[in-house]
């Protein structure tokens, strides 16, 4: 098998700090190369150099054996490299066909030749088995379909190498399966794929080769058969992880912290009742669209409910988030970029946001900045944040795992009794996942109650005391006995889908 792209001693510094250190790697043609590494290991920087977004500090690239030095993304696209980012680069207000041709419309009499672009787009969509007309607006498509459009764009530009950065994070299981089918087909048609993911099971199953980055260095590479998942993890974090999950340090107590009784909102959730005890982590499993995040929003007072009650330590919960926070609730949402963080604001501002009113001094509620600094520094240590200068560093400069720790930290500042974690480990690497599980355990050990929402069944089985399953807005199963059976849980989750 010939080499499509060769990286020769490639390095990149940011202000003297190396992000990628002399990486030498061959990307074999017509195969799927898996690229794994913790957040901050240098995966994105490496791919940005290939994609022409960043120039290397030193080292060279060879494309089909010839030196290749892209000046920008346009150069890379012309060479035949397509980069499918985690955040897709599509215009939501334009149609599929318009998106495909956005960098150069075929014209007829000076006007866009709509028939030509629709015909070409139709061919591409048929190739990818995307069931939509070329004139469908992107905003009408699901995340999985949008991704296929992005792939169609790559094929339209005759890309030879397609790089996928975390392509499955926002996909449903079904869409994920379809994506892997497409990748397999790309491979058969001779295309080369680089697949970056934190879901190591997917990497093991769908890649031919593996490259592992750690601290900017290539620490392992070879055929995928040499890397069972535990071996991948060992290479990524450079040490043996005693397990994927920390041991639980507390057991549920008798005291009921949170109780929901017959919560209902037509079309969203129906007759939801459950309770969470002090020291307990209650898991909530459900597929996308099962109503789990909608339930969380209702519990937190962000959305209304028509029937039922929710109580915290015996007191009925009313009002919006402000009042529920005062009563002792906390909510880590599934979408930290849009709902969890002020990305441009310094880390310290983010940490202080929930509790900022507690730093106000009379008469005009001036912020006690010394107290705030002290409290945020303390929280930085408590959640083991890897950030040097939290007073000036913006949240977006942190890696995904550390961003999530900021979100958890800002809630810990308020000392809540009932914690809702909605997909807290999404887009977070193995090491940071472990730390987030340990934080959840500590919340429970300190007498708190935790509702842990996830679509990863393994992590629920690893950290929760009980697991309940949601399907179409209803609680359809509760599992109290360890060890949990993933088959039983999945059966409950799929119950009506299968019927």
């Amino acid at each position: 098998m010939s080499t499509l792209l060769r990286l020769d001693n490639l390095s990149r510094d940011f202000f003297g700090i190396p992000a990628v250190r002399s990486v030498t790697l061959e990307v074999p043609q017509g195969a799927v190369l898996g690229l794994v590494g913790e957040n901050g290991a240098g995966k994105s920087t490496l791919m940005n150099m290939i994609g022409g977004v960043l120039p290397p500090s030193s080292g060279r690239l060879f494309w089909r054996g010839a030196p290749y030095a892209p000046r920008d993304a346009v150069d890379a696209a012309e060479a035949g490299i397509a980069f499918i980012h985690q955040e897709l680069n599509l215009f939501h207000n334009l149609t599929i066909a318009e998106n495909l041709f956005i960098d150069g419309f075929p014209k007829r009499f000076g006007l866009i030749d709509r028939r030509a672009i629709a015909a070409r787009a139709g061919e591409l969509l048929a190739d990818l088995e995307l069931d939509a007309t070329p004139n469908t607006l992107i905003e009408e498509l699901s995340p999985g379909e949008r991704q296929l459009v992005e792939i169609a764009k790559a094929l339209h530009r005759e890309a030879e190498l397609i790089i996928f950065d975390e392509p499955t994070t926002s996909l449903t299981p079904r869409e994920t399966k379809r994506l892997f089918d497409v990748i397999a087909r790309l491979k058969t048609s001779g295309k080369t794929v680089v697949f970056i993911s934190h879901v190591l099971g997917d990497v093991a199953e769908h890649c031919d080769h593996l490259a592992v980055l750690r601290d900017g260095q290539l620490v392992a590479k070879g055929p995928i058969a040499d890397f069972p998942v535990p071996e991948m993890i060992r290479a990524m974090i450079g040490r043996e992880l005693s397990g994927l999950f920390p041991d639980r340090t507390s057991i549920p107590q008798a005291e009921i912290v949170f109780a929901a009784e017959g919560l209902g909102q037509s079309g969203v959730v129906e007759n939801v009742s459950f309770e969470v005890r002090a020291g307990e982590i209650l898991g909530l499993f459900g597929l996308m669209g099962s109503g789990r995040s909608e339930l969380a929003r209702i519990l937190f007072g962000l959305d209304p409910h028509e029937t039922g009650t929710a109580t915290l330590a015996g007191a009925r919960l009313t009002g919006g988030p402000g009042r529920r926070i005062a009563q002792g609730m906390a909510f880590v949402t599934e979408n930290r970029r849009e709902e969890g963080l002020m990305m441009e604001a310094p880390v310290a501002e983010n940490l202080a946001l929930v509790t900022i009113d507690r730093f106000g001094r009379l008469p005009a509620a001036t912020v006690d900045r010394a107290a705030m600094r002290e409290a945020t520094e303390k929280m930085r240590d408590k959640v083991q944040l890897k950030a040097a200068d939290i007073a000036s560093q913006p949240a977006k400069s942190l890696s995904g795992g550390n961003q999530q720790k900021v979100v958890i930290g800002k809630w810990l500042m308020a000392g809540p009794r009932f914690f809702i974690l909605d997909e807290p480990t999404r887009g977070v690497d193995v090491g940071a996942k472990y730390e987030i599980y340990a934080l959840a355990d500590r919340l429970a050990a300190e007498g708190g109650a935790v509702l842990f929402i996830s679509s990863e069944i393994e992590e629920l089985m690893g950290v929760c005391d009980r697991i309940m399953v949601m399907n179409r807005g209803e609680i359809v199963g509760k599992f109290a006995e360890r060890p949990f059976s993933d088959e039983a849980i999945l059966a409950a989750a799929f119950r009506e889908v299968a019927a």
């Binding site: 000046r71 988030p321 990305m343 501002e349 900022i356």
Partner: protein, 386 residues
């Protein structure tokens, strides 16, 4: 299918321009809070040799007196921009409250001028405005102006926060409707005379300078240049209070948080809607306070005050200062320097004897430059934190 070629897109594509890399020191300067002040001073020093009148005491006094009312209004706009909104209705509030001041405070009324106005015989007659002769009239009149402003602000804020209407739409409607209402009230006539106690607020010298020869037995009034005035004291007090409010208080953090990410703020328990309403009320109150200074300086209630390019001056000054149009980043100190720069710019362009059209064209170009500078700043911040 005809000869349309799909290969056409492979040719002649424009590449986005790349900035050269900026030296670290220059970057520090651009990111400094005082950058616009340095820029203004440099501009001033460069122009002094060419425009000797620039440093005349008369001109400096004039320059300062132009700065204070604009600063008061711009401070209010800073809050709205920081929360991620925009207030286009400030000019209309200024016109409305100025008309109200005239209608309530005028010491006499002229039927020749005002008999067609709907307020004639209701709020104002031959014997003056409704409050003429009432003890403490000036204070009651000011209270009425602020109240009217606050009501407009409340209306704007509630529409934006509770009805989820875009601030641009809401305040554009305000700009048109309230501006027209103010003009209708007086049928576009100015109302004068206003009481001396009110007019004093617009000029009232506290420290003035006489720079002529000392042997004159009587100093001509026009050679006395006022520097410390009531408008100055008022504007500086408002700016200082606003600075503390925006940068040092819980409320100020809320304003920044809502501007930075409204969803995050809401989930974190920030009373987002109350914050938005308050910010629009502050903006309208500042406009009303600016109206006091403008009306007093003009010695008349004038419904068309704050029309036309005035809004450009306000938003331009705030944005030149560095406050982001997208919210989440705003400082009163930036606005102070932005206003200073804008007033200096207008002043120098006037001294160059340019026509009003040329002046507005140059102002537009400067706002464009400010926008480019803003992009540069954002890029610098991103580079430093990448």
């Amino acid at each position: 299918m005809s000869v349309t070629s799909l290969q056409k897109d492979r040719r002649g594509r424009a590449r986005p321009p790349r900035f050269g890399s900026i030296p670290r020191k220059a970057g520090d300067l651009i990111l400094s809070d005082f950058f616009v002040l340095y820029l203004s001073l440099a501009y001033f020093l460069v122009l002094v040799p060419f425009l000797p009148t620039l440093t005349n005491p008369a001109n400096l006094s004039n320059l300062l007196s132009n700065m204070w009312p604009l600063l008061v209004v711009a401070v209010g706009q800073t809050f709205v921009l920081t929360v991620g909104g925009i207030d286009l209705s400030q000019g209309a509030v200024i016109g409305l409250t100025s008309a109200i001041a005239g209608a309530l405070l005028a010491t006499a009324g002229s039927a020749n001028v005002l008999s067609n106005a709907p307020i004639w015989g209701v709020l104002i007659g031959e014997e003056g405005g409704a409050l003429n002769g009432v003890p403490g009239a000036v204070w009651l009149g000011i209270a009425a102006m602020l109240l009217a402003g606050a009501l407009v602000g409340l209306l704007n804020g509630v529409s934006v926060a509770y009805l989820n209407m875009p601030p641009f739409m809401v305040t554009l409607v305000g700009l048109i409707a309230i501006g027209a209402f103010a003009i209708w009230l007086t049928q576009s006539e100015n109302i004068r005379p206003l009481p001396e106690a009110f007019i004093k607020l617009g000029k009232g010298d506290i420290v003035s300078l006489y720079l002529g020869p000392q042997d004159e037995p009587r100093i001509p009034r026009r050679q006395v240049y006022s520097f410390v005035t009531w408008p100055m004291l008022l504007a500086i007090s408002i700016a200082v209070a606003a600075h503390l409010l925006l940068s040092r208080t819980v409320f100020g953090r809320y304003v920044n948080a809502v501007g930075a990410n409204r969803k995050t703020a809401e989930i974190s328990g920030v009373p987002v809607r109350r914050v938005i309403v308050t910010v629009f009320v502050i903006s309208a109150l500042c406009a009303a306070a600016g109206s006091i200074l403008y009306s007093a300086r003009l010695e008349a209630g004038r419904p068309t005050l704050g029309e036309g390019a005035f809004l450009l001056d306000v938003i331009g000054a705030v944005v030149i200062g560095g406050t982001s149009l997208f919210g989440g980043r705003g400082k009163i100190i930036w606005t102070v320097f932005g206003v200073f720069f804008f007033v200096l710019l207008s002043n120098t362009l006037n001294l160059m004897n340019l026509s009003a059209f040329v002046i507005d064209m140059v102002k537009g170009a400067v706002i464009l430059a400010a926008a480019i500078l803003n992009v540069l700043r954002t890029r610098l911040i991103q580079e430093r934190t990448a």
